[in-house]
Each structure stands twice: as structure tokens, then as C-alpha cells.
């Protein structure tokens, strides 16, 4: 069975209501911390002068050689815990993409969203 498509989300959207529990997503960020004993990594990113953190569960992608401070992309499922509302991405893919042009990547994601919005909007009106 094929998994669901992992839709691009910006790190600052992960904790929002937009992203539901169990959703397949992909996002990016700089690896700031890796805790091998907990199988947990933290990726951070900046948007509108606010720092956003995304917690990543790495059990599926271990072992891997973490490069602290490098850009990573993560693809996996959202796990929201009931109690404290903490959001974790359970990674299926965790790739180092250090050197990526983050601004251009954001532009590309926005272009794609804009295209689908326009097209689906068009189809809706007819």
C-alpha cells in the first residue's frame, strides 16, 4: 500500500490548526539538536523574526549521521499528543540539503499553492 502524499508545509504552519493529526507532510529547517537516546531531533527556522521549532521523531530513519547546523528536509506524519498539544513529525525521510536556497524554496511552494488555488477556484465557479 502506498502512503499518502506528503504535502509541503512551512515550519510555522506545523503547530497551527491547518495541519491535522496523522497528516503526511514535508517541511524543512536547520538541525539544532539531536538526542539519539530519545530518537528525537529539533529543526529550527526563522520567519517574520520569530524562531520556529519542529520536533522530529527519528526512529524510522536511524541510524543517521547528524550534521548540527545543516539544513534538512523531513517527510513524515504528524503526531499530536493529547495532553500538552506537542506536535512531532514522525519522519519517514530525513535528508540533509545543506546549501538549499530557502527563499527560493518558499517561493516555489507558494507558486504551486497559488496555481492550485487559481485552478480549483476556476473549476468551482463553472
Amino acid at each position: 500500500m502506498l502512503p499518502a502524499a506528503a504535502v509541503f508545509h512551512f515550519p510555522w504552519e506545523i503547530s497551527s490548526e491547518l495541519v491535522t493529526d496523522g497528516a503526511s507532510i514535508r517541511t524543512f529547517g536547520r538541525l539544532s539538536k539531536y538526542l539519539p537516546e530519545e530518537s528525537k531531533a529539533i529543526i529550527t527556522s526563522h520567519h517574520a523574526s520569530v524562531e520556529y521549532q519542529v520536533a522530529v521523531k527519528t526512529t524510522f530513519v536511524e541510524p543517521f549521521a547528524p550534521i548540527i547546523g545543516a539544513q534538512y528536509t523531513v517527510l513524515g506524519e504528524i503526531e499530536k499528543s493529547e495532553g500538552d498539544g506537542e506536535v512531532v513529525v514522525h519522519a519517514r525521510v530525513f535528508n540533509c540539503v545543506d546549501g538549499v536556497d530557502v527563499a527560493l524554496l518558499q517561493k516555489a511552494v507558494n507558486e504551486q499553492r497559488k496555481f492550485f488555488r487559481e485552478r480549483d477556484g476556476e473549476a468551482g465557479t463553472h
Binding site: 502506498l2 502512503p3 502524499a5 504535502v7 538549499v100 524554496l105 497559488k114
Partner: protein, 369 residues
């Protein structure tokens, strides 16, 4: 039959699919769209994105699923809009070749060793076709639906080395543009003036082909040597339906003449144009009086060419090899008609050769028998 006519009518007739450039290209579509496209009712294995018929696609995405079988791999490719199965065959020839090469390593190790280089090439090839989950994969192939699941049978697939995501980003930026410029634009069958007035856009090419055939048959059967357009116009009448003929009572010949739609004249004009391009007919002189000579039946033309060959083949220059086609063309233009084209000359030469009056000595040389 009427029940599904609605859907079938939305589809372009399969005869015209080739006119759509998207049909013969590998369409770069979002996987979401590939999964949702509707299959053709006329031909299974052909799918429609909006009005475009297609069967080959080109996708780029992250491998999220992988299954190895004896002779193929199944990769699930995710482009962030959808996930599709890609069937990638293992290349057995490559495997055999690789096996045959291993073992006999060059002991000297210096200089250019072709086996060594080939081994390196095969190794590089192997690496780019062995894909793990998380790798970026590019797949081109044809679509099929098996067990209600749509999948791509790869004709080409390779791992894309994209350490800083530049390939993925440029593709994400490129695709909306591609959709706007191409896939989302409806495909219109190129139509001529005549077909614009008729309801079915496909009919004109069809009628034209019939008209050319009818006229050729007529000229051959009746051994026509020359004619004027109005002599043959009546032959094309059955091809153009006149809506009034069924309902109205018989009309006088005079008024019929005036109601002949310009369509017929247009069709005749196009037909004559094609026959001229094919060299079947030509106009000896361009004048007000539109007379067409039928190339094969023009006795004077045949005689003129035989004369030219008979005389010129006596000249030492042409004695051995015969005359070149272009030489014959310029002579016949001087002697007979300035208006004869190369195609018409080819028709005559072929005709004369069939009648064993002349013979070709090479692709472009003829001599008299």
C-alpha cells in the same frame, strides 16, 4: 448507445489525437492529476487531462515506497501532490554484462583499459538505478491501470542527485507555467476556412482526401489530357451536402448554379493545389484561361522529354551516365513549358520508365533506351 454518447462526444476522435503535441510528448503532470485523469472510452490506456489525450508521463519525486521483485522494482513516488507506483524493470543484459566483466581485473593497472572503463560505466549505471527510500527519482513511462490502480511502466528511470534541491525547486517553479501555457489550454484542431463553417472540424481533411482520390481516378479512367476546373466541379458535388436539396422542390439549373456554395469551389481549389504539388497535373501557361494538363497523358510533354534525352545522350558529356534530372528539367522548361515543376517531371520520368522508353542509370540520371 445513446447513453454514453455524452462522454464520448467530449473526446476528440482518436484519428486526430496525433495532431495534439501533448499526445506524443512525455507530459510533466502533477501526480495528483495523473491519478485523477479519466481514461479514454475509445482506446484503453489513453488518458485525458482536460482535452489533451496522452499516455506517457514524466514525474520527479521522492521515493516513499520500495519493493523488489525478481525482475522489477516497484517504487512509490511522491511529488507532494500525490503518490504513484512506478514499475521499473531490471536490465538483465546489463546484469549479464556486469557478471561477465567481473573477475578479470587488469593486473598491470596502467594505461587505458577499455574493460576497466566499461566496468566503471556499468557501475555508475547500476548506482543510478538502485534507489532507496528518501532518494529523488525521475521516471518517464507510459500509464496503465492495473487492479484499479494507476501506475507508470517506466521506459526510463534514474536517481537524481539533488543535494541542494535545485532540481526540485526549478521543477516546482516551472510546472505552473507549463500548465498555464500548455496543459490547461484547450486543444483546437487546426481548421481551415472551409471546416470552420461545417459542424465537424475533422470533416474537411477527410473530404479533401476523397476529392483528390475521385479526381485522380477520373483523370486516369477517362484518360483526360487537359481540363478546366468547371469541367470537373460536378464530380465533387456529392461530397458537399446541400441542406436544401432534401426539403425544397427541384430547382432550375440556372438557380442551382448560383446556389452552389463557395465551399465546392474552395474544395476544388484545394484539391487542384494538392494534385499540382504531387505533380499529377500542371498548367502549361499561366493565363486567364485556367487550363490544367494531366502530366501522364500529355503526349507532347512525353515526346519532348524523349527528344531531349535522345539528343543530349549523344553528347559526350552525358553519353555514359545519362542526363541529370535537373538538366532535363531546365531543358524541358525552355522547350515546352516554363511552368513545369520538379514533381511533375518526376511523374513523367517514372511513367516513361514504366513504359520502357527511358531508363534510370542512378537516382537522378536517365538515359534513352
Amino acid at each position: 448507445m445513446d447513453g454514453n454518447q455524452g462522454d464520448a462526444e467530449d473526446e476528440l476522435p482518436s484519428l486526430l489525437w496525433g495532431l495534439d503535441p501533448v499526445f506524443s510528448a512525455y507530459a510533466q503532470l502533477y501526480i495528483k492529476d495523473i491519478l485523477q485523469m479519466r481514461e479514454s472510452q475509445q482506446v484503453p490506456g489513453i488518458y485525458f487531462y482536460k482535452t489533451h489525450p496522452l499516455f506517457q508521463v514524466d514525474v520527479l519525486g521522492t521515493v516513499v515506497y520500495r519493493k523488489e521483485r525478481d525482475d522489477f522494482y516497484c517504487y512509490g513516488v511522491d511529488d507532494s501532490t500525490g503518490v504513484i507506483n512506478c514499475l521499473c524493470w531490471k536490465d538483465e543484459n546489463l546484469q549479464d554484462l556486469r557478471d561477465s566483466l567481473t573477475g578479470d581485473k587488469d593486473p598491470t593497472g596502467d594505461g587505458f583499459n577499455i574493460e576497466e572503463q566499461l566496468r566503471k560505466l556499468l557501475e555508475a549505471q547500476r548506482i543510478s538505478t538502485v534507489v532507496e527510500i528518501g532518494d529523488l527519482l525521475r521516471v518517464r513511462g507510459s500509464l496503465k491501470t492495473s487492479r484499479e490502480q494507476r501506475e507508470i511502466t517506466a521506459s526510463l528511470f534514474y536517481k537524481v542527485n539533488d543535494p541542494v534541491m535545485s532540481m526540485q525547486i526549478s521543477r516546482m517553479l516551472e510546472m505552473p507555467q507549463l500548465y498555464r501555457d500548455c496543459y490547461d489550454k484547450p486543444f483546437h484542431v487546426p481548421s481551415t476556412e472551409l471546416s470552420a463553417s461545417s459542424t465537424d472540424p475533422s470533416s474537411f481533411q477527410c473530404i479533401l482526401a476523397q476529392a483528390v482520390y475521385i479526381l485522380k481516378e477520373f483523370l486516369k479512367e477517362k484518360e483526360v489530357t487537359r481540363f478546366r476546373p468547371y469541367d470537373v466541379e460536378y464530380l465533387l458535388h456529392p461530397l458537399i451536402q446541400q441542406p436544401s436539396t432534401d426539403t425544397s422542390e427541384e430547382q432550375e439549373p440556372g438557380s442551382l448554379q448560383s446556389t452552389v456554395p463557395s465551399q465546392i469551389r474552395n474544395l476544388l481549389k484545394e484539391t487542384l493545389k494538392i494534385l499540382q504539388v504531387e505533380g499529377e497535373i500542371f498548367r502549361k501557361v499561366l493565363s486567364q484561361d485556367e487550363v490544367y494538363n494531366v502530366t501522364e497523358h500529355d503526349k507532347d510533354l512525353l515526346a519532348a522529354i524523349c527528344d531531349i534525352l535522345r539528343e543530349d545522350c549523344k553528347v559526350e558529356k552525358y553519353a555514359e551516365k545519362g542526363c541529370h534530372v535537373l538538366h532535363i528539367l531546365s531543358s524541358v522548361r525552355q522547350r515546352y513549358s516554363r511552368n513545369l515543376n520538379k514533381e511533375a517531371l518526376d511523374v513523367v520520368l517514372k511513367f516513361l520508365e514504366c513504359n520502357s522508353e527511358i531508363i534510370s542509370t542512378s537516382d537522378a540520371h536517365y538515359t534513352i533506351l
